[in-house]
Symmetry: C2
């Protein structure tokens, strides 16, 4: 796994330098880009860390980049730091999920604290995603028939009822049931339900 990194995208050279100094002297890995295009070329999926965006940049604007990333499923926390922001833009950014929207010139300590909050959120978010992906991959390893049985077990059906619905014998249902319990690493219906519900929220594709 890569090291958590703050990606700073700003067309202003002095701002980029400032961030490089502010973050690296505080032991935080930082990479800077002068425009959205450069950033997108360097960004790899599942990169831990967060993103600091300027609003007005040549090419794609900060808000556009935010939308683009959201559509691509990138959920690293985003912090806006801009010189010429107005209220509608700030509202749009925060409504779209930005952690905060700060105006230049800014208080170093405040921005440092916000970056740390972003990194913390990302770590927490990533931790939960990992949990869900573990479940999701186990769920994906079920055969179609096992999935059909699983749905009905979750719904509270008895083996006898499941056998009727699927037009198979109770014995077969028992086998599928035992298999899926083993694959999902649970030993009771109660655990099974909880694990399955967890895996349904995070509908992310498993490797």
């Amino acid at each position: 796994m890569r090291k958590p990194t703050v990606f700073v995208v700003d067309d202003d050279e002095s701002t980029r330098e400032l961030f490089r100094w502010l973050l690296s002297t505080n032991g935080i890995a930082v990479e800077t880009f002068c425009c959205a295009q450069d950033f997108l070329l360097a960004y790899r999926a599942n990169q831990p860390g967060c993103i600091v965006l300027d609003l007005r940049m040549p090419g794609m604007s900060g808000l556009e980049l935010q939308q683009h990333l959201t559509r691509r499923g990138v959920d690293n926390p985003i912090l806006f730091v801009t010189g010429e922001g107005n209220v509608p833009q700030a509202v749009a950014a925060v409504k779209a999920g930005a952690v905060d929207f700060i105006e230049k010139p800014f208080d170093y300590r405040q921005v440092l604290a916000l970056v740390r909050e972003c990194l913390a959120r990302d770590a927490e978010q990533r931790r939960r995603l990992d949990e869900r992906q573990g479940v999701a991959s186990r769920l994906a390893s079920l055969t179609p028939r096992e999935r059909e049985v699983l749905e009905r077990v979750i719904a509270g059906r008895l083996n006898r009822e499941i056998a009727e619905e699927l037009a198979i014998s109770i014995k077969t249902v028992e086998v599928h049931r035992a298999h899926l319990m083993e694959k999902l690493q649970v030993s009771s219906v109660a655990e099974l339900v909880q694990v399955t519900l967890l895996g349904q929220e995070g509908a992310a594709g498993a490797p």
Copy 2:
């Protein structure tokens, strides 16, 4: 149940009149207040509807009122409409959960659409709350002992293990278990787990 109502809090008389006209001619119930104090006196808990707030008012400001309501557990959607807003205030409002933050003068149609969105969110939110409160009240009707057994059933323990943990006989566990299943209106462990998980999210006190 009271009728969904838009509560407009603004110290500017002409703005209040404008909202009364705009909303009532569109068939939306509206009540206006010139300051936070007046609104708080009139507001009753569990009122369906939403709130339109001005930022700058004599006495408590819009942001302060928002925080006050949040602390009191009032979760009606809030729409800010203000004349002298700046970026930090807008960000604070939206981060605190406001649906939007609009500057005067505003587009009637846009604000009307936002108000309708607020009302829709409130209705949806209220619907889910009702579901959870049904579960919560049933959960509250359990005796302490039944709750202890419930926890362990949810955790996937066998009756034998539960009996050991609680230092009672298996027969007693069976009785408690049957009672709580009946009180919670479920007929299988699978349903039991799902109902209980639903009731835990919405940790609101039941009447």
